[in-house]
Point group: C2
Chain length 218, copies 2
């Protein structure tokens, strides 16, 4: 369980987005045997201002020491816990197609606290198979299993046009958070957490820059 005596405060999303990078940097230093790290050193690595680093880390329980900075080992522990990577949350994945299978293959997710316990599809050629030891069930079995398996998160990797239907099902079955990998925008009640991650949006950003560069140099 995450236990904290700190006052609960809303952490800005850009801060949370930077934290896995702080963690990766601290883990690297830990492996090299470095004992302390300054906010300036972290800032140089991140290409941001040291005051931003200090501000970001002030949301966690870590306290820097004058002159030496943050203890690297403590920083790794505090950030991992703060980011929720030390608590296992159970998830269902709906849509065991190309992207869905890709995510089922990524055991990095479980390293970061996400335990995908089952996958669902409507495609009879996939149902009954195991992908990276995770069984694929027919979508109709969703309800019974979610209660049984204490699942609080749903991952949507179906085609965009089916995303809302799947989201509605997930809400009905008691899922608290939805990780939506489709470009579709889904509508859910206010108390349900939705995170949109569209890989192809990132791809579009790269292409836009690449192809504009090419046009400019013509």
């Amino acid at each position: 369980m995450v236990q904290s005596s700190k006052k609960i405060q809303v952490v800005p999303e850009p801060t949370i987005r930077r934290m896995p990078s702080y963690l990766a940097f601290a883990e690297g230093l830990l492996r090299k045997g470095q004992q302390f790290v300054s906010s300036t050193q972290i800032a140089n690595y991140m290409n941001i201002d040291p005051t931003q680093v200090t501000k970001d880390l002030s949301y966690t329980a870590i306290v820097g020491k004058t002159r030496v900075g943050y203890e690297v080992k403590a920083l790794v522990e505090v950030l991992s816990e703060f980011l929720g990577f030390t608590v296992m949350d159970n998830a269902f994945l709906v849509g065991a197609g190309s992207l869905g299978s890709a995510l089922l293959h990524d055991s990095g997710l479980s390293h970061f606290g996400l335990n995908i316990v089952a996958a669902f599809d409507v495609n009879s050629s996939t149902i009954g198979k195991k992908i990276n030891d995770i069984e694929v069930f027919h979508i109709d079995q969703f309800r019974d299993l979610s209660q049984e398996m204490n699942v609080i998160m749903g991952i949507i990797t179906v085609p965009a046009e089916n995303a809302q239907t799947v989201a509605d099902l997930m809400v009905a079955w008691g899922i608290k958070a939805i990780w939506n990998f489709t470009p579709a925008r889904i509508k859910v009640p206010d108390d349900i957490i939705v995170q949109n991650t569209t890989l192809y949006s990132n791809l579009a950003i790269i292409f836009n820059k690449l192809h504009n560069d090419r046009k400019e140099t013509r």
Copy 2:
């Protein structure tokens, strides 16, 4: 090739991020046989203001018609081309571990214009294997192949501590854009495009909301 008579202009990143959602919506309407769509209809779907939709779409070549709005078929074509999804770009992936294999399994990438032509690793148990028909080579073979295969993009899915080394190699071998899936921040020359995509950052955002909610209700 992308050819355009339009003046080249910098498109804001939030606009590009919304465009794959516009595209998904338009593709859905096309399948349903709807001929025209208004900016208000798109705005409702996206939960944003109609003026934002009009502004976003003004970066593309599409022109809306009074009263009826945008032609759906034209919208799909214009957005696909604008986002670079109709041009195939060749890419190398370095790091055929868990996340790397996951991306190699995602044939959606090629649907959106990204053709991963080869993968690289240093792990002898992976080298020589094919993942989703893409061969895994030893990293030392990178240079020769990149010239041979007209590769302009590199995807980094190695452990964070090796990201900079791989990025340096990619730059040396003539790669123009890097898609970095590690939480490490990489430093490259100004003319190289870098896009950071950290799946685990999105996971951290969900966890932060989930666990704070739980604490609040205690």
